[in-house]
């Protein structure tokens, strides 16, 4: 096994090759890491903005490395637009788009899309809905009419609604078995309550799901999917002047038919006092923990500061939370934190899966770090976090899917045209003072909710002993809103 016992034949061969390559003989200086050259410039291809005859906006970016094209039909309506009593309708509407559209049944759509080697997905988030097509560029013309039917002319057949309803009810049932789904749901419910849209799963509840009708779907689609609220994002192996006529042919005839204006989601009231909720998962080997409160909307003026702040706290491997809870104490496989920014203020949370018998110790360390982040950060830590974000930024634009999703982000959150060009400079401009000020505003552990999905019998006494706030037990039904 020793490296000294190199067979002779190989040693001879080695000399020959080393002679050929030369430099292998010199020993490098390992006393310090090699110097890093100036950061390369990221030059993004231009966004070419056009408008179809019906007013539908089109954003096109040409990228010719691979013979593929990504076409995203983006609608500015999502779960945030679910009316009271109908939580889940935006998500179900999006899911139903490809279950029969134009003249094709659900099975025909799937067969034709698959046969083209295409991927066609229909999804929604809190802030937007989308039909996304990824297809070999040679087959774009064959895929576009199917995509247009799916986006514009869904049929919402009763049988498919009944099937998807059962599928979603089953998904909610299965989610209750999984602590990594129970904890975030219970946390959202604790922070936002049952009335605010962010307090309930995008899927809705078993009660709302059971009540949806095909006319609910038709009415949501007709009122919210409108040319004035939609954009076509096209990225990939296309030419602007050849793709535009295709888009006009399949999307240009879509007309507005009395749409409904979007009602902004109300800002959720902030938590005023600390509280602890335990969802009992008997026998669980780990406690899934979420700690936090109402965070900020995507429009926050502190966006760049919060990116840096969160990177330091729990946004990277060397962040304070991960170093403490994983590397120093081994309580977990990984700890992190995040500001989930939406059109309205989404949650801020720190979290981890903690081995059950370390739950109390881990919570203590979470709060140590959440309190410590409000103190000044060192220049070194600040520079590391800023470089991590700024220098790593170009890698987010490698694929046509990456590019298209960044364009979606610009559209949904109405970011300035130079947002990505200015990103690196804006990150580098963040100061230690700004981080400290933001931490004082947005990280107030004395008012945080602590939510744990874990083995109540094993953890309740210890957690209560930390006196983090009144402890209550939340049932899984309460967490999911029935």
């Amino acid at each position: 096994m020793s490296r000294l016992r190199v067979p002779t034949a190989i040693a001879v061969l080695a000399i020959v090759i080393a002679g050929a390559t030369g430099l292998a003989q010199q020993k490098p200086d390992r006393s310090k890491p090699p110097a890093i050259g100036p950061a390369p410039q990221l030059t993004l291809p231009p966004i070419q903005k056009r408008t179809l005859s019906n007013g539908l906006s089109v954003w096109i970016v040409e990228a010719h490395k691979v013979p593929l094209v990504q076409v995203n039909f983006l609608v500015q309506a999502g779960s945030a637009d679910d009316p009271a009593g109908k939580f889940g309708i935006a998500s179900l509407t999006a899911a139903m788009l490809d279950e029969g559209a134009g003249t094709r049944s659900a099975l025909q759509i799937a067969d034709e899309v698959d046969f083209l080697g295409a991927n066609l997905s229909t999804t929604s988030s809190f802030d937007a809905s989308a039909v996304r097509l990824n297809v070999p560029s040679a087959r774009l013309a064959a895929a576009l009419p199917i995509m247009a039917d799916v986006a514009l002319r869904p049929m919402f057949p009763q049988a498919e609604l009944d099937r998807l309803r059962q599928e979603r009810l089953t998904t909610l049932l299965q989610a209750r078995d999984d602590a990594t789904q129970v904890a975030p749901m219970a946390f959202a419910r604790t922070v936002f309550g049952g009335t605010h849209r962010y307090g309930t799963s995008a899927l809705g509840t078993t009660v709302t799901l059971k009540a949806f009708t095909t006319s609910d779907l038709r009415s949501f689609h007709a009122s919210m999917y409108q040319p004035s609220a939609a954009t076509l994002v096209v990225v990939g192996d296309v030419q602007v002047n050849t793709v535009l006529p295709l888009l006009e042919k399949y999307f240009g005839g879509w007309r507005t038919v009395g749409g409904t204006a979007r009602t902004p989601v109300a800002l959720a009231p902030q938590l005023t006092q600390a509280q602890v909720a335990i969802v009992d998962m008997p026998g669980a080997e780990q406690s899934q923990v979420r700690i936090g409160w109402v965070g900020v909307p995507r429009s926050t003026p502190d966006y760049f500061t919060l990116q840096v702040l969160n990177t330091i706290l729990g946004g990277s491997f060397t962040s304070r939370l991960n170093q403490n809870l994983r590397e120093k104490n081994q309580f977990t496989y990984g700890a992190s934190s995040r500001f989930d920014m939406r059109l309205s203020a989404g949650p801020f949370f720190a979290g981890a899966g903690i081995q059950t018998d370390k739950t109390t110790d881990a919570l203590r360390e979470f709060f140590n770090e959440l309190n410590a982040i409000t103190k000044p950060v060192s220049a070194e830590e600040l520079t590391k976090a800023k470089n991590y974000l700024a220098l790593g930024f170009p890698s987010e634009f490698e694929t046509i899917g990456d590019l298209a999703s960044h364009l979606e982000e610009m559209i949904v959150y109405k970011l300035p045209d130079n947002f990505f060009d200015r990103y690196i400079a804006n990150i580098q401009a963040v100061t230690a003072e700004a981080v400290q000020k933001a931490a004082a505003t947005y990280i107030q552990p004395g008012r945080f909710a602590v939510v744990i999905a874990g083995d109540r019998k094993a953890i309740e006494a210890g957690v209560g002993g930390l006196k983090l706030g009144p402890v209550r037990v939340l049932t899984v039904e309460e967490a999911f809103g029935s």
């Binding site: 096994m1 080393a18 390559t21 430099l23 390369p40 080697g117 560029s137 089953t170 491997f317």
Partner: protein, 451 residues
């Protein structure tokens, strides 16, 4: 098992399911590369792609859980964790600090057959990655105190709790491997390892494992992305040239794996729904039948019109989900079908329907359109694999993967040709030969009685 976040299955090569035919989607499927070997045996592959100013450094060590010895299962993966904790010239903690300060991301993962590491970083910082990778390849043991093993042992145990014990149906894959492969076969134990073996891992094991398996002649390095080929070759020679060659690693010699009957077992879990797993032993990666079974999987469960999805999920709605996959590996593969019953429905109903559908394909080949649909999906997926240079599954990782499998780094076109040539008769023959009803593993997971 990966160091953080994503968990890889026991597949070495993620051969994506699915690719040609209405308008031909043809375009050159080539990844131009330069390949050379250092005096110490390190295989090096360079590939240039200047789409974004990012470079990817990807190292494969040809050691995985299949090289472990009895009583030390999980060791290859535990060792992977230790590779991030510092080396002679990189104090503990500095590996990640230096990389994050340069805007880099990094990770590693372990499978049955290999361990891989990647660093993706701005191209100006490439030399930093080569310094770090070469330092841990050459000098890991100079900075490996016994306490280090203890701390990562506990992290890995938490990885296991999170991904297996605390995951619905998480223990099923461990049971299936135990049933599929004979005792002593290295695929019979999980990559993550048994808890008691993780407890037993010692500092001496670390030293032995490193000396035996982490030599340059048992590794392969790919540098891809926004790089200058000549300058990069010079830098690779500079930083890796001094790493000492190790002894030749003998190939793993596993006992024969054959199923002669149905092996059935029922376990319980804290879940609401019954689940059925069917598993067969199938040809190793790239052997005849391997690609065919990928297409079989697509015909069974790829898309709404696939045989099993349409019958179980779409038409009869007895199942919440059904999936099938060929899990390809170096010493042998497995083909698995997994189906979750809707509430009030049972594994028995699902198994009957699955067996009926497989029997139909045994008697009558699939329609040409079904096969072509699957091949078209495979082909498009090959182009999607050309987009990213770094990370798990990026081009750098794929070049290493093909090299490891013996095909040469740029095996993309040859790999795709395996799929394009398939006919309905090939699919029928593969089902007949490899998916017999009377020689397989059947695992049932039932909900525990609520207390």
């Amino acid at each position: 098992m990966s160091r953080r976040l994503a968990i890889l299955a026991l597949v070495i090569l993620t051969i994506p399911m699915r690719a040609q035919s209405p308008a031909p989607a043809t375009a050159p499927l080539q990844v131009p590369f330069r390949q050379f070997q250092l005096a110490n045996g390190l295989n090096v592959v360079l590939h240039q792609d200047k789409t974004v100013p990012v470079a990817a450094v990807n190292v494969w060590y040809h050691v995985g859980s299949a090289n472990e010895k009895t009583g030390r299962t999980g060791f290859a993966h535990l060792f992977e964790h230790l590779m991030f904790e510092g080396s002679k010239n990189v104090p503990e903690g500095q590996f990640d600090l230096l990389l994050e300060s340069a805007g880099a991301t990094n990770n590693g993962s372990t499978s049955n057959d290999r361990t891989n590491y990647f660093i993706d970083l701005p191209s100006n910082a490439l030399e930093l990655a080569l310094f770090l990778e070469s330092d841990r390849m050459a000098f890991l043991l100079d900075a490996m105190p016994p306490e280090q093993v203890n701390s990562q042992r506990d992290v890995v145990k938490n990885e296991r709790r999170q991904s297996y014990e605390n995951q619905p149906y998480g223990m099923a894959s461990i049971e299936i491997d135990k049933m599929l492969w004979p005792p002593g076969h290295p695929y019979s134990w999980p990559v993550i390892g048994y808890m008691e073996d993780l407890t037993a891992a010692s500092h001496a094991d670390v030293q032995e494992f490193f000396k035996r398996y982490y030599a340059p002649n048992n590794a392969s390095l790919v540098v891809a992305g926004d790089i200058d080929l000549d300058k990069t070759q010079a830098m690779v020679e500079k930083w890796f040239g001094e790493v000492r060659r190790g002894a030749t690693v003998e190939p793993v010699a596993p006992p024969a794996a054959i199923l002669t009957q149905v092996k059935r077992q029922t376990i319980t879990d804290q879940v609401s729904l019954q689940r059925l797993y069917l598993a067969w032993l199938t040809p190793r990666f790239y052997a005849p039948g391997d690609a065919t079974l990928d297409v079989v999987a697509a015909i069974l469960t790829g898309g709404k019109n696939s045989r099993l999805y349409k019958r179980l999920v779409y038409d009869e709605q007895m199942a919440q989900d059904v999936s099938a996959f060929q899990s390809s590996a170096a010493l042998g593969s497995s083909f698995q079908i997994v189906a979750t019953a809707r509430r009030g429905r049972t594994v028995e109903e699902m198994q009957k329907a699955i067996d009926e559908e497989i029997e139909k394909l045994r008697r009558t080949p699939p329609e040409p359109r079904e096969v072509q649909r699957a091949i078209n999906q495979v082909e498009a997926a090959f182009y999607r694999r050309m987009e990213r240079v770094g990370g798990f599954g990026g081009k750098a990782d794929q070049l290493n993967s093909y090299y490891f499998a013996g095909g040469g780094p740029d095996f993309f076109a040859e790999d795709l040709a395996r799929y394009r040539s398939l006919t309905p008769a090939d699919v029928q023959a593969a089902i007949f030969q490899w998916l017999p009803r009377d020689r397989r593993v059947e695992l049932v997971v039932l909900p525990e009685e609520k207390k």
